[in-house]
Amino acid sequence: MEKSTAALQGLRVLDLGRHQAAPRAGHILARLGAEVIKIEPPGNNETRTGVPRVRGLSTHWICMNAGKKSLGIDLRTEEGKEIIRGLVKVSDVFIQNFRVGMIQHIGFGYDVLKALNPRIIMLNCSAYGQTGPNKDLIGWDTVGQAMSGHMSVTGYPEMPPVRTFFSLADRTTALHGTIGVLSALRQRSITGRGQSIDVCLADSGYTWMEDTLIAYLAEGIAPQRRGNRGRGAPMNSYKTSNGWVYVIASQKNQWERLCKLLNKPEWLADPELQEGDGRMRKIEMLDAEIEKWTLQHTSEEVERLMNEAEITCAAVNDIPTAAENPQLWGRELLVEVDHPYDDGKVLAPGMAIKLGKSGHVIGPLSAPGQHNEEILTGLLNYTKDDMDRMKEEGVI
């Protein structure tokens, strides 16, 4: 079998998502080979124009819409809804992340979708879930980080709780949603039926905190912010002559190699330090001594020396250095696609999930409504005249 057949070839997805979680799930499906139709509202779409922008298109948009077709419809019109109903009948997946209750209000609850197409799989992303004690609250990414306790334990003791730079809850929820869709597809291959999926930001937040919450509920252990230390020692960020590195030498073999690299036979000779618990007790001393050594070198040197000695270590890269790193390019994590507004190129995400036989698809970015004709006259059975009329009436 050639590597060219993508895993989700032949699958059609309707993406009504806004903000992040739902469109990102749509984007993963697109890269796995699905045909993803993004339904865009008329006029200015907030996410297309947010800053920063690359020649008129926000980087936010770019990194979750390459490879999607664009259908511009006003969903408030009856005819617009009729178009969507027609599309539901010939599609496999329907993704949305409106406030809970809204999609039903618009006329596309799961019962409606199911009646139109019993095979349809509906992915519902939200802040707190389609059901549950908080379903009526609105929220964006950080609520998942805050509610689950994660923020309270991230950062330094002397500073307030801190969130991750990127939208971790949105991203996790998108991954969860994708897993839900793919699982439902597998189930459908046996039962012939679709189903609905419920994922949310708050629940994503709780998934990361499972072991911590389990320990608290069982033993009352409530960790505090601990900077960059982790479970086990030594494990921390250390200053170098030109930045920081992150080192993890908490496992027996790597710990021993670290002792040798830093020329610390006394550490190897100390029986207490041969146990993880013992190293945790002496963590301040270990961190101070390791940092004395790293301060004598650049981050690049430390990274090289430690990796040669097979000790886990990575320089804490700033953005320019991260952008030059061979990992990014050697693994094709960013690729060039056509910019939709001019004839130039723009970088878009590649695919971090590599399949040995199924090629992935990094398609171009679309202009708003670029595929109206293709979809309305090709996939559905509207005529050119219908389209002209709908344009006049503001439906498309």
Binding site: V54, T142, M151, R163, A184, I353
Partner: protein
């Protein structure tokens, strides 16, 4: 068409993972209904005993092994490899996260797996990838956070770069692995063939940084560490009388509601503040004013008022508060399972991915080697005598009752 009760019913997964990413991927599949067989080395397994522990079993282990069967065997012996080869013939997925090259040396390269079972899907998880400029390096979670630039942008301007508390990269990689396996299962419907999946920690780290790197590569923009200030404004954490609360008011509607709640008609009247760009310009002033307003209340009072006004907010919960939220319990995100060593109870993860038509039973935690006999005589066709012999030859191991050494 047939009936199945869960999405992955009928799928058999062999979990040779260690540390986090691979076992977590297998755990997700278990919770979607797959039969997951964890291959454990004899007796004492580092991950089972790490601190903190709940009556002998590490919370680390607990949080990623409920619902898996345990087959305890010494994979250095030829007989154990034979057993594994036979299992491969009757399984759908093989997950491992040894250093690239190791699984092949053990005798289980893709070529071998494919020859044994052309339908098998092999999920290879690693630090830097099965191929790539650093594929020979060792690595654990945080390398993904450091390499991709994420750490450099997390935290406050006045602190060093900060990592996430939990193993974010391991978790993301596990999710990527599951997506890869499920996509490959779908492809197998079309082609009849299995294939490999290659996911890694470093790539997971880079996946979150896409828009930032795209922005930088196109015009040199480098953001700074900005604490909790989010894109758009105002969106940040604010100090109440007894802790922090998150307020997210960068969306147009929410912004307007906030202005009214805080009784700031001058903000609504200022055209500059009606755009996100404009609010970003004045964010220090906005945050100061909101901070002053919030400081009059406790977290719970502020949350009540804000929620009533439909302004997105969330108390920044510490661990105890996080366990008291109805969200955790009503959504079934943790539930009580039997502790495998003493018959008492311990909390284990539920399922955050809810499918309306898929309701697999959520399985318990296993003791090491608990299912060895069941699997060898049930799934494979060994006899009782064969199994006895394998025990005697120290190929497989009986469970030790009570707390393992």
């Amino acid at each position: 068409m047939a009936e199945i009760k869960s999405a992955l019913e009928g799928i058999r997964v062999l979990d040779l993972g260690r540390h986090q990413a691979a076992p977590r991927a297998a755990h997700i599949m278990a919770r979607l209904g797959a039969e997951v067989i964890k291959i454990e080395p004899r007796g004492n397994n580092e991950t089972r005993t790490a601190l903190p522990r709940v009556r002998g079993l590490s919370t680390h282990w607990i949080s990623m092994n409920a619902g898996k069967k345990s087959l305890s065997m010494d994979l250095r012996t030829d007989k154990a490899k034979e057993i594994l080869r036979e299992l491969i013939k009757v399984s759908d997925v093989f997950i491992q996260n040894f250093r690239p090259g190791t699984i092949a040396k053990m005798g289980f390269s893709w070529d071998v797996l494919n020859a044994l079972n052309p339908r098998i899907i092999m999920c290879n998880i690693s630090a830097y990838g099965q191929y790539g400029p650093f594929n020979e390096r060792v690595g654990l979670d945080v390398v993904g956070q450091a390499m991709s630039g994420h750490m450099s942008l997390t935290g406050y301007p006045e602190t060093p770069p900060v990592r996430s508390f939990f193993s974010l990269v391991d978790r993301t990689t596990a999710l990527h692995g599951v997506i890869g396996v499920l996509a490959a299962l779908n492809a197998r419907e079309l082609t009849g063939e299995g294939q490999t999946v290659d996911v890694c920690l470093a790539d997971s780290g880079y996946s979150w940084m896409e828009d930032t790197l795209i922005g930088y590569l196109s015009d040199g923009t480098v953001p700074e560490r900005r604490g909790n200030r989010a894109r758009g404004g105002p969106a940040n954490t604010f100090l109440t009388k007894d802790g922090y609360i998150l307020i997210l008011a960068s969306n147009k509607n929410v912004w307007e509601r906030l202005c009214r709640l805080l009784n700031k008609p001058e903000w609504l009247a200022n055209p500059e503040l009606q755009t996100q760009d404009g609010r970003i310009k004045h964010v220090e002033m906005l945050e100061r004013e909101i901070g002053e307003w919030v400081s009059q209340y406790t977290i719970d009072e502020a949350a009540k008022i804000l929620n009533k006004a439909e302004i997105a907010c969330q108390p920044v919960n510490d661990i105890p508060r996080a366990t008291q939220e109805a969200q955790l319990w009503d959504r079934g995100l943790l539930w009580e399972a039997e502790h495998p060593y003493d018959g008492g109870k311990v909390h284990v993860p539920g399922m955050a991915i809810k499918l309306s038509d898929s309701n697999p039973p959520q399985g318990p935690l296993s003791a090491p080697g608990q299912h060895t006999e069941e699997l060898l005589t049930g799934v494979l066709k060994y006899s009782q005598e064969d199994v006895e012999q394998l025990h005697q030859d120290k190929v497989v191991y009986k469970i030790q009752p009570g707390i393992p050494e």
